[in-house]
């Protein structure tokens, strides 16, 4: 489990003068469901393509199970890809698509056929084996693409937003299916998505990428509960970022003073936090409503939005900053009217000081 499947060392990728990936360092473990998460255009596909071998890297190194593969062409890398648009060979039926890789590897016909049956069974496409891609639905095509990439038993499977073309219901069921396949086959999955829910629910670990740089790597919980910087805190879920004065930082904790107040408190701090000025991240669901005089912060209610199970309430602080909080929508919860003065409170342990 601790073996490193894909090791990317200080890798930079340029297109002309444009830097698509900057100094990327990632260690993807064997047998891991690893997700690359980031907004559109951040370089996820580019990173995947450098691992597959379609893009040459400009600097750094890529290792696959310890072997430097930077100079190997795609057809020599024991890595397969599920492409975003599937790209099934239109002139071949499902079976021919799936067997293609096995034939290129020189497997004998009987072994290859048995393997094709095995993967088609795994993705439940047996009855469609003789159809052409044009005769399949989007979801079925997606599964053929998966079967085709799984058939040669790659050491690492790369998936570029494979679910983005499917509708919501289907996407949810395929997520589970994918996770199950990853667990039963034991193949390392590198999964690309811009959908944070997908990333949070499926992955063992997630790398959050922005502007061609890795922002943070960690489990779903790490990334949500302990974001490293403002980008991660903001991109994963919702958060309130409050400017604070930092008087001391030590041992993963910091002492801060809230704006307009004299209350000093201690909270967990990200690795890069420094004394002076900082941003405090507080999740909306961690903020509670109290009487104005009891709050760490004070303000006026400006907006309330009904979200079904929840209510979202906006409160404007004295300095003009808006804080959003989430209240459970139940009989007991008191929902303030617009214009009501309120106090806001949160457990200092649930807030987090981020690097500036």
């Amino acid at each position: 489990m601790s073996e490193i499947a894909v090791d990317i060392l200080n890798m930079t990728k340029r297109y002309g003068s444009f830097v698509a990936l900057r100094d990327v360092c990632l260690s993807i473990k064997d047998n891991e469901f690893f997700t690359l998460l980031g907004p559109s255009g951040c370089g996820k596909t580019t990173l995947l393509r450098t691992i597959a071998g379609f893009e040459a890297i400009s600097e750094g190194a890529i290792k696959l199970y310890g072997e430097d593969i930077a100079d190997l062409p795609p057809n020599k890398r024991p890595v397969n890809t599920v492409f975003q648009q599937y790209a099934l060979f239109p002139h071949m039926n499902v079976r021919a698509n799936v067997i293609f890789g096995l034939q290129r590897l020189g497997q004998d016909e009987t072994t290859a056929r048995a393997r094709v049956d095995e993967v088609l069974d795994m993705v439940q496409l047996m009855e469609f084996a003789d159809r052409l891609p044009a005769q399949l639905s989007g979801g079925q095509q997606q599964r053929v693409a998966l079967a085709r990439a799984l058939a040669p038993k790659p050491k690492v499977l790369l998936l570029d937003e494979p679910l983005s073309a499917l509708d919501l219901k289907l996407r949810q069921s395929v997520r589970q299916e994918l996770q199950q396949i990853q667990q039963t086959t034991g193949i390392t999955f590198v999964f690309v998505t811009h959908d944070q829910e997908e990333a949070l629910t499926m992955s063992d670990r997630i790398a959050v990428i922005a502007d061609g740089q890795v922002q943070q790597v960690g489990s779903a919980r790490d990334i949500y509960e302990a974001p490293q910087n403002r980008f991660v805190a903001d991109f994963i879920g919702e958060t309130n970022l409050i400017d604070v004065a930092v008087s001391s930082v030590s041992g993963g904790y910091a002492t801060c003073v809230l704006p307009g107040g004299d209350v000093q408190f201690t909270c967990p701090a990200a690795a890069g936090a420094v004394v002076g000025h900082g941003h405090l991240s507080v999740r909306p669901e961690r903020v509670s409503l109290v009487k104005p005089q009891d709050g760490l912060l004070r303000g006026v209610t400006t907006r309330q939005v009904y979200l079904g199970t929840d209510m979202s309430v906006d409160v404007r602080l004295e300095g003009g900053k808006i804080i959003t909080l989430r209240l459970q929508n139940s009989e007991e919860t008191h929902i303030p009217e617009i214009g009501d003065p309120v106090g806001l409170n949160f457990e200092t342990g649930t807030a987090r000081l981020l690097e500036d």
Partner: protein, 307 residues
């Protein structure tokens, strides 16, 4: 989706209900006037008796076909033996057209590939360059080719001055000259349909193939060629068919030894040696051969479509 389309088309049909026949009239008129009429005339002429100095006598006769296939001696009373002269001309024509098609494909495919993979405005510039020579009349181009390759022409002079050869290569009046002429005449007909297919080719397929361990060669033979095949076949037909009936290239570049069907037919309708029924019969035989090839191809396509 399909149901929607079907619904739409039925509503269209009902909008124009009863007018169908009239709406078809213009196309029928064109097909009738330009296709059925001339071919029908040829078919009828091929079964008539020849009039010396050209023209026909309206009297049924199988002589034209008989002359093509059988030799009955100088006076026409010897027991019939197979006449090889015309059959050999056919074979030679098929061979020459085949070689020209083969070389057009060999050069045309990479050319089309090159143009289709250019980006931006370069693409249209290259396409335009390919078609430039074809704004000039075929006769003039063929004569220029003759001038280029003759023993004392620029090609030989250039090669001589470079010292590559010590005496001129004799190209003119060889079958190679004819192949070259046909190749040059019809190359764009190969390039353009292949270009159209390659243009539509999704290069992600090549990446997938490489991802699935295919060598460049396997990617070409297993993925690219099968997918752009319709363009290749269209190009081959568009070069082969007119090459088969060509007469300018064999006449001007090939000399007497390299007679092709086109020249044979042309001769029957020109000057005093003319024999209209025979020319018509040769045309009909050529046409039926082409039809057999095309039908075979259409069958093949239908079979593949059904698969």
């Amino acid at each position: 989706m399909a149901a929607q389309i079907a619904k739409k088309s039925t509503s269209n049909t009902s909008t124009y209900a009863g007018l169908g026949v009239f709406l078809m009239l213009p196309s029928w008129a064109v097909i009738g006037f330009f296709l059925v009429l001339p071919v029908g005339m040829m078919l009828i002429y091929s079964f008539l008796t020849k009039e010396f100095r050209g023209g026909v006598i309206w009297e049924f006769s199988l002589n034209a076909y008989d002359q093509f296939f059988f030799d009955r001696g100088l006076f026409g009373d010897a027991p019939p033996v197979i006449e090889w002269t015309y059959i050999n001309i056919f074979w030679r024509s098929i061979w020459q057209a085949g070689v020209a098609t083969f070389f057009s494909l060999l050069i045309g495919f990479p050319t089309a590939w090159f143009i289709a993979t250019r980006t931006g405005p370069n693409k249209s510039v290259w396409l335009f360059l390919i078609t430039i020579p074809y704004w000039v009349n075929l006769l003039i181009r063929t004569i220029s080719m003759k001038f280029l390759i003759r023993d004392t022409g620029p090609l030989n002079e250039w090669l001589l001055s470079l010292g590559v050869i010590s005496e001129p290569i004799h190209i003119i009046n060889t079958s190679f000259a004819v192949q070259l002429g046909l190749f040059y005449s019809y190359l764009p007909f190969m390039v353009l349909p292949i270009y159209a297919s390659v243009e539509r080719y999704n290069f992600a397929y090549s990446e997938v193939a490489a991802d699935l361990y295919a060598s460049r060669r396997a990617t070409l033979t297993k993925i690219i060629i099968p997918i752009v095949k319709p363009g290749i076949i269209a190009g081959c037909i568009l070069v082969f068919v007119p090459s088969l009936g060509a007469f300018l290239a064999p006449d001007l570049l090939g000399g007497a030894k390299n007679f092709m069907i086109g020249s044979l037919i042309e001769e029957q309708f020109k000057g005093n040696a003319g024999n209209w029924p025979f020319g018509a019969a040769v045309s009909m035989i050529l046409l039926s051969m082409v039809l057999v090839v095309l039908t075979f191809y259409a069958r093949q396509q239908a079979k593949e479509g059904a698969r």
